[in-house]
């Protein structure tokens, strides 16, 4: 579905060049649960950024089916993100003056075939909190709102940037369980970047990165349930 070919990303800061990605080649199939694993500075966030069109590549190509993402204009890329991609962030990024329902609605409104918002809030266990503002929700609840928002427009792929980075183990596993359900029940492609090796146990494919390179590509036939993964 997504084909990344010879992708490099170089950041220029004054006279200093930083090679964040070096000739990356990878494929992401429909319905896969992918984990990009690596320490800080390994290039995993950069890889997520360029695959999802949040950043441009210095060289190489990225295809989504027949569409070359690296050749799209800003407007076309926005349309692509709107129609196909969802995002979950470590910091939840909820809009503070909107209620839980309204935050999800912001995601749903731009989808062509969105999920019913109340159903989604029920799915993430926030029916009672639908009219609460972010400051009235716990960290776990806020993340669940963020998950519901990313799912609301019914995207094909959901990118997750350290989704459990701010949560304790119990809440983290709840969220991961939710992602796993999205993957299995709704056949959504999930791409998670993390430095937590335990999460990799849930993945179909694990992309291990270091210094801007893929150092290992692991295919897993047996995936663990979110509740069963090792933590820490």
């Amino acid at each position: 579905m997504i084909t990344v070919t010879d992708v490099s990303k170089v950041y220029q800061s004054g006279e200093v060049e930083t090679h964040a990605l070096k000739k990356i080649n990878v494929m992401i199939e429909n319905g896969e649960f992918i984990v990009i694993l690596g320490p800080s500075g390994s290039g995993k966030s950069t890889l997520l950024n360029v695959i999802s069109g949040l950043d441009t590549v210095t060289e190489g190509t990225i295809f989504f089916a027949e569409t070359e993402l690296t050749a799209l204009s800003e407007r076309e890329m926005t349309k692509f993100r709107r129609d196909h991609l969802g995002f979950i962030f470590q910091q939840y990024n909820l809009l503070q003056n909107l209620t839980a329902y309204e935050n999800v609605q912001i995601g749903a409104d731009i989808g062509q075939n969105p999920f019913p918002i109340d159903d989604l809030l029920g799915k993430v266990g926030l029916t009672k909190a639908r009219d609460k503002y972010p400051y009235q929700l716990s960290g776990g609840e806020q993340l669940r709102v963020s998950v519901a928002r990313s799912l609301a427009k019914n995207p094909d792929i959901i990118f997750c940037d350290e989704p459990t980075g701010s949560l304790d183990e119990i809440n983290s596993k709840k969220v991961l369980k939710l992602l796993q359900e999205l993957n299995t029940a709704y056949e959504k492609t999930i791409v998670v970047i993390t430095h937590n090796a335990g999460i990799a146990e849930m993945a179909d494919k694990v992309i291990k990165m270091n210094s801007g390179e893929i150092i290992e590509l692991i295919y897993q036939d047996v995936k663990k349930d979110a509740q069963d993964i090792s933590w820490g």
Binding site: N49, T78, F87, Q90, N93, Q96, N97, E102, Y135
Partner: protein
Amino acid sequence: MLLKNVRRTLSKKWMQLSAISLIIFLSSFIYTALFYGISGIEEPTETYLADHNQEDFAVEMMNRLTEREWLEFSGEDLEGVGLVTLEDVKKEDPDLFMEIIHERKEAFKEENSGVELELREMKTLYFDASNGEHEALALKDAASINRSFIEDGQKPAADDEVALTQIYAEKNGLAIDDDVFLHGDRYTISGFVLFPDYTLPMFDESFALDAGKQTLFLFTDNAYEDLSENESFRLAGTWTDEEGELTAEEEGTAFVTHLIDTKSNMRSGAVYDELSGSKAAGLGLSLFISLIAVIIVAMLMQNLLQAERGQIGILKALGYRRVNVALPYLLALLPLAFGMLVLGYAAGYAAAEPMKNVYLDFYLLPETPIGQRLDVFLLAIFAPFAVFTFVSGWIIYRILGERPLALLNPKETDSVNALTRVVSKCLTRAKGAVKFKYLHAVRSTGSFVIFFLGIMFATILILFAFMMNGMMERMTTEYLEKMAYEYEAYPEEPLELDELPPETEPFLVYPYAQYEEETVILQGIEADNDLHHLYNEKDENITREINDGAVMSETMRMKFDIEIGDTVVLKVNQQKTEAEVRGFTAEYLTDKVYFDLEELSLIVSDGESTELYSGVYSLSAPPEDDFATVISKQGMIDQNESLEGYLDVMTTILIAGSSIIAASIMFILTSFTVEKNFYAISLLKVLGYSRREVNGMILNSYFVYMLLSYVLSIPIALAALHFLVVFMAGYGVVLPLELEPVSLIFTLMILIVIFFISTEISRRKIQRIPLQEVLKRYYE
């Protein structure tokens, strides 16, 4: 080092700082310019008016004899029918005239104790100058009340000398010892004169105030008496005891047509309200702008510190004391505020002189150089500076009060305001983008208030400007331009109607009638005349209506709430006359009632004559030998047009000034909004909202809010306008201010243009916000 860092941060916000600087500058500039400009006139004026004994009140009186006077003095040499005027008496028998005046003064003093009275004698002259016809009021020198003041040079000592106003001389390139020609006679300018009862060059009911085409004249008494122009009289009065209430209800004071206290008298007293009103407006305006500046500075400080809270947290954790951390922020911003206040003060002081001269273009007042005052300096600079320092210090103190660890984390929102909840409820069924748009607009109460104030301020001023535009034209030239005559002239000696020159049409003016205790002018014209038609507001010719009753000026309709078909009772020579109102002419300067010429002649002559008239209208200039006064219509139009020119300049200044302030406010607030919503904007982009949609969600709420503020400002503007109309009505001036629907559209268009120009930079800023921002530490 810390200071350097803060400065570096601030340098990235140079556009915001420039806009804030402009607002701070204006707060000090407006106060200083208006205060110095006005006090530069006020103080010498107070001294001048006191030293030259300005009248406390004026007794306007009938120019013809009352019944009682007629009976008392009929044994004297007074014969003939019709109007026997004081002027006629003075020409025939000066002693008798003085006796009548003495009687009048005594009768008035008998009814009103504790007053002193002096006769005021004056003649209006029209003469040709290089740039058209000019008008002058020659006042006979007074002995006690309203004594003349020679600004420069000296009083006329010889009969071929004249003193006139300095502003008239300046505008016409005249100097002392130069010559002026009046109807062919040469007069040498001996000096520049002012009279305390004419602080405005208002010589009649018209609103012409062109000091370049109108002047006051002081001649020797002999030269004055030799002038052939018509003469008019009034009594000038002062209180010798404590001020009381004046009356003129006894038989002996039947000659009184109007009693007017100086402060309510436009020609002499408008300056008092003008000065106090302008001072109050200056203070109010600068306080208003200072308030906006203070709120904006507070918002800037808050945004700045919140953006730097992590850094502040580190400094606190390292052991820096509050004062060490606070000082760089204060040192970076307060000198800028102080500098702008000083600059505003300096510019205001420099602008005070030309501003004073604008006043002196209209007001006939002595001029002295403006000196600086410590209290103004302190109020213009240190008062707002103290407030800025206090507000900034308070915000810094609050943030520095947080624990270092809390500062190291982004500021968490821990509440939403009540307005957010209300708007959220109202928008239950709306789309998410719509909810976001309006909820983020009402999120900050400070922004909400300041934005509303800015739009309201701009709306009021722009609407005022549009309403004022054309007002003077409606009041003066529009009516004159419709008239077919070119000249109006007043005969030296009464001529028989059949002796009138060809192509002239007679009219009769009786200026002493009364309607509901107010003096009104009665004018008789022929119903089938060709030169002076009467037009109503719809521009329909209603001249023939005077065959069946009276036609009144719009001023009377507005003042007295009269309607067509009403029967009005007018008092003429102590007799009551009834007339049915048949229409209203689009005249806004005087309270005037038109009758058929013969009808009015019968009214004022107690049924004795149908052939009275006081002047003629003419297409060409009537011979000066037969007519003491010839007034050119074009000359009157020219005099009024210069005032229209001033109003046009004022209109432009009002629109431009208010637009700059509104644009600055819009720019600052929208750029603050973009900064505060940095992460939200990035998020919306990542979610897939297009550039247009993001712009709409962040900035278009301001657009809708601008529209709402504009709509709310309209009634406020109209209320302010009503206040102005009532204020002017206190001087007997009816302002035909009109709110034309098109003005509302133009005002809205100006605001929309200002909005798009001032938010353009914010739109570009939105465009530049990178998508990856959303992946960083997020806070709002």
